[in-house]
Amino acid sequence: MGFLVTTLIFVVIGVIACLCTRICCNRGPSTNLFHLTLVITATVCCWMMWAIVYLAQMNPLIVPILSEGE
């Protein structure tokens, strides 16, 4: 699974979550916008965290060196 595929998965999950909140708790435009903001922020945060860790491991400059004991 490449970077783009997983990113797409994040996008899809984000969209689904947005739709869920929209359908489950539809309480007027102001509240819906508020929920949308929360879901988007959360998705972006989670995606950033994952993307950073994934990118950092794509081309590792150092590799795992096992300890002597093992």
Binding site: F34, I52, Y54, P64, I65, S67
Partner: protein
Amino acid sequence: MADNGGCCPPMDLFRSEPMHLVQLILPVDSAHLAVAYLGDLALIQFKDLNSDKSPFQRTYATQIKRCGEMARKLRFFRDQMLKAGMTPITRSASEGDLDVDSLEAKLGELEAELIELNANSNKLQRGYSELVEFKLVLQKAGEFFQSALSSAEARQREIGSAQAREESLETPLLEEQEMGTDQSKQVKLGFISGLVPKAKSLSFERILFRATRGNVYLKQAVVEHPVTDPVSGEKVEKNVFAVFFSGEKAKNKILKICEAFGANRYSFSEDISKQAQMITEVSGRITELKTTIDIGSLQRDNLLKTIGEDYERWNILVRREKSIYHTLNMLSIDVTKKCLVAEGWSPIFATKQIQDALQRATLDSNSQVGGIFRVLHTKESPPTYFKTNKFTSSFQEIVDAYGIAKYQEANPGVYTIVTFPFLFAVMFGDWGHGICLLLATLYFLVMEKKFSSKKLGDIMEMTFGGRYVILMMSLFSIYTGLIYNEFFSVPFELFSPSAYGCRDPSCGDSTTMGLIKVRDTYPFGVDPAWHGTRSELPYLNSLKMKMSILLGVAQMNLGIILSFFNAKFFGSAVNIWFQFIPQIIFLNSLFGYLSVLIIIKWITGSKADLYHVMIYMFLGPTDDLGENQLFSGQKTTQLVLLLLAFVSVPWMLLPKPFILKAQHNVRQNGQSYIPLQDTDESLQVETAHDPHAHAEFEFSEVFVHQLIHTIEFVLGAVSNTASYLRLWALSLAHSELSSVFYEKVLLLAWGYNNIFILIIGAIVFICATVGVLLVMETLSAFLHALRLHWVEFQNKFYEGDGYKFYPFSFALVSEEEE
């Protein structure tokens, strides 16, 4: 005020509710009811229009005094009930028709009755304890006489047989004395008997001895059970004493000493037969008194019980009355004394409800004239009111603890709901610990109904109040724990096999050269192969440090973008062009560029030294980059970015004060009309607070303010970015601690192959995990996340100089009193 961009509806919680200052004119006869209805509504904050008057000069001072008196009576009842071991029944009493005047009369009656009952029972109790003491003295001192008599008889027999002398047995103790001392002196001895507290008995004896120069004879007997002291009503350990003395002088001295020691004296006859008679007499009286006391206390208990049934209802009513009169005292009274004028802040959406309440009050009090509702226009800044629910309120409190938002400014609380638990979780990434936290908070959520009505301890109350914050924190820590691939510091190959493998089948150089990447990158989170390797720490440190920078730059950019929304909302073009734009350029040309370099380095796998790049970007921007070149045209890009950063500093500093001055001059001269969106908000607020300040414009002050602001931002860009490194430090500390507990405690204990050691090891592991990781680490990660939000995020846009909306509300009144 302009609305939020126009394209979308205003977002909940993003801006505080629009408020207006309203004036209510209430006829005197319906004012009380109207205020009561408004208190139920809890959507208006009354202004004190009589702040120059002392509490005694106000219109309804007497009524408040009456309420205070009633509250005092209720407190008295409460104390009495607590003393009697009863608790007021907290049932939701039916709101029966209860008039304040009749309540006042009733409370007065009840109080008088209770006081009388108390006085009676005190009197009886005192008599009762006196009798009990008297009985004790009779018994114990009687024993002295008895034993003295028998010993005297025995001696007499001896003496009688030897000397054949007849002696009276009437004064046996006298005889004993005589035998002991001098036979020739025959004086009539008197005696005093009573009870003295055991603690004082030794010194009592000593003082008696000294005062009479040894010419007394004291006998004491310990009373086994503590006795109720008639005066204080407390249980005290006491001794029965009998002092024998001779002479009137000695008697006076002894009486004084008794007085000083709080010794209760009881006199009785020396005659033994009379003593026995007295004992039966006293016993009879004691039983009599006892039944009387029992009847009295039963009566008292019944009275308290009836009070207890209505106590809560009365208490609420009195509090309500008191708060209503307090509010009425804040209204100014008309010259004709026919109506009261109220001013207060209320949210615009509540207009209809307030008008309804006024109408109902008019109808219900049969008033001829209705209350008048009017909106006033003012330049004063309204209070800040966020409509929060039980989920958002605890996050809003995190923001409010720093400072209440200025009226209608962008509320960081919206983003805090996500970013706060997220940053917490970056420092607390372990999905095992996250699940523990989740279970704890789920317990709170399940017990929510039960806990919210109960009074909890300080720490419990705080944890319970923040249960939704903790819920979010635990969910995010489970997520970040999966990313860090740590479950109590143990990694799992959950998503695919590790990307790393041996270089050759023998795996010989895995401890020297290391493994090699043989598969695709591990798809989700940190590769489990890193765990326990020698290169784990350098690798994770570099990863987490860079992650902290990236997250920090992202959050700071969000903060600056929010300042753009603020400027746009308040229609301040100056703030957009001369604050927002240079700020975002400055931050991104330095640290945004650093973030881009980090990402490029990861993608290309370049070995460039980023420290070197950043440092020489300043020291030698024209130098050749050499092997630190990450992309073509890097030198030019860096030169441009450096130039932009240098330009943006004076851009932030210089134009704004001059433009403000020009705007002020134009307004002052009144030569031309200035549309609202061109005026600066900060200036507007300043003038709103004090209309007289309008005339003055201290250019130097404005300039210095801008200078400070600019320096703060420029230096802050560096220090705040560095400050985000705490994310790395805390997360490192967390994972190291948990791996120490796992390896040095649990695995070590496992290695002994002994069930006892294993159990002890497991207990130590659990205690350390709960105590250090789940409690202490949660606290420290919470505090660091708090700081990152308060300082690094909010100083980009948040003024926080508003004041909170405190509506007049009965619900709040009763909470405060608790």
